[in-house]
Subunit: 170 residues, 2 copies
């Protein structure tokens, strides 16, 4: 149930509409957690019914701005540090590497080079992002920087691995 907590976390920073949250899922959040529009609106409905968020203001075009409730904050803090993370890892690209023995070494190399290319691009995008963001010195932004740094290190590691791995084939 992490989508639920992603929403609570964002609303704990500031009130927002489903539409606002969707933008964040597509942008800043997209390296960490995904959500489709459909799923998001559904979850907002459930969260409201459960009393963890409430409509705080309505705007044009049926816009509903939600805010987190005290109950929601309690749930968020509980999840953040007390609930054991238990997602099973799923890495589709690495899964393919496992089975590259089923194609020719040339195709395998090509695939791993493609992985390296992706990592390089990701690395660049994150570096650009870092430069473009005006990091206020508020509390929340601090952790955004940590996540960004994680992404950069991850991309670098993946790129280096790809460079090493192509050399191992045959």
């Amino acid at each position: 149930m992490s989508l639920r907590h992603a929403v609570l976390g964002m609303l704990d920073e500031a009130p927002a509409s489903g539409y606002d949250l969707l933008r964040r899922f597509e942008q800043a959040m997209s390296n960490v957690w995904a959500a489709t529009q459909s799923q998001l609106y559904g979850e907002l409905g459930k969260l409201e019914k459960a009393g963890l968020i409430r409509v705080h203001a309505e705007g044009p075009r049926g816009r509903k701005e939600y805010e987190i409730t005290e109950e929601g904050r309690v749930e968020l803090r509980h999840w953040l540090v007390e609930v054991k993370p238990n997602r099973s890892p799923r890495n589709e690209v690495l899964l393919r590497v496992y089975f590259l023995g089923s194609v020719s070494p040339d195709k395998a190399k090509e695939f791993i080079e493609y992985m390296g290319e992706n990592s390089r691009e990701r690395e660049e995008r994150l570096t650009e992002l870092e430069a473009s963001i005006d990091w206020g010195d508020d509390n929340a932004a601090q952790y955004g920087r940590l996540v960004l740094e994680w992404g950069k290190r991850f991309s670098a590691m993946s790129r280096e691995w790809s460079e090493w791995a192509v050399k191992q084939i045959d």
Copy 2:
């Protein structure tokens, strides 16, 4: 539909029963792709109906050993290098880091230290695993080594990030 392809990949190495495959998902595969017993048996049924695998031998206790068909091999090779990977990343732990501003710096530090501890353990487990495996020099094992190395580098990177990140807080 990666579960499907994980199954095809394993059956392309050697025939196996659902039970055999489950063992692999729980062991070697667990760092890369997860599957529950329930899901696996369901998928085997679908794959058989679709003609991508077939029952190749039956054993005691209703054991059904499957083998991949030529059609299955075609599908596997197609997926391996021609289908664009499109899984959206989901990292529950990193999602929490994003929102650590909602708890005290002390609790945040504790959480990141816990992350580092996990990475260290994972690193050790993989190193032990590496030593314990008798790598035959067959084609398939080669790629298993690449995946293992990825895991080791990933764990090391996570550990180093954690060490760096705790120092950034406050």
